[in-house]
């Protein structure tokens, strides 16, 4: 089975809840393993949160495109935004060995995403960040 999904959302975290419902309506008939669905949910949330929180230098409303393509073997999640240039693949891994008091709050989203998906590709094109997340089934 294969299929594709695409939706434009505003750069506002409140968009996440409805987006996840739409994506699950698309994913459910594909009957993917729960682990792959979890990886998709998590990578989408972590990367989208980064874009919404840190991607823009103004307070204007921007559009982010969220697309998924599944060819029966590989799922590709693409996020396209017009924020400032940001390559999440250059982010530094947090020190996960630290104990509670020394642990800075946050910084684990990118690390989790990189660990749970098969591949990530980033490119800057026509003033847009294009992040592709690859999950193999």
């Amino acid at each position: 089975m294969s299929g594709s999904f695409s939706k434009n959302i505003k750069n506002d975290l409140s968009e996440l809840t409805a987006l996840v419902i739409d994506i699950h309506a698309f994913l459910d008939p594909l009957e993917l393993p729960p682990k792959a669905v979890y990886a998709l949910d998590l990578s989408l949330e972590e990367m989208l949160t980064n874009i919404v929180k840190y991607g823009y230098d103004d307070k204007n409303v921007h559009s982010v495109n969220v697309a998924i393509k599944f060819d029966g073997k590989t799922m590709v999640l693409s996020l396209t935004d017009d924020g400032h240039e940001f390559n999440p693949l250059n982010a530094i891994k947090p020190d996960t060995a630290k104990s509670v008091p020394e642990r800075p709050i946050g910084g684990v989203g990118i690390h989790l995403t990189r660990s749970m998906v098969d591949d990530m590709r980033y490119r800057r094109e026509n003033g847009r960040n294009i992040l592709e997340i690859i999950i193999k089934i």
């Binding site: 975290l13 409140s14 996440l16 809840t17 996840v20 729960p34 682990k35 979890y38 949910d41 998590l42 949330e45 972590e46 949160t49 947090p94 996960t96 060995a97 630290k98 104990s99 509670v100 008091p101 642990r103 709050i105 946050g106 684990v108 989203g109 690390h111 989790l112 660990s115 749970m116």
Partner: protein
Amino acid sequence: MVIKQEEKNGILALAIAGRLDAVSSVEADKEFNKVLDAGKDKLLINLGELEYISSAGLRVLLVVAKRMQQKGGKVCLCALAENVKEVFEISGFSSIFKIFEKEADGLSFINS
């Protein structure tokens, strides 16, 4: 996301069900702060019905752990589902929390 509260042998047991994501964690954070502000220092968090947690959800639990440590209280987690457990392991959070498979073991740890 739904959080249920129950007192068990002087321990406050909180069961979180559903999704703890960037949106619902704001609500969860408020709920936990209410509990901690009320002076609760024995806390068991049951994640048996939790289907999904992201870094935003982990952050809420980290704040709980930090506040409990400051006040000399005790907190533990129990009954993590497979995918949720994996997120705890990859992020290193499994070494921050006392985690038990069975709630009964968590209760006896807190009262020990």
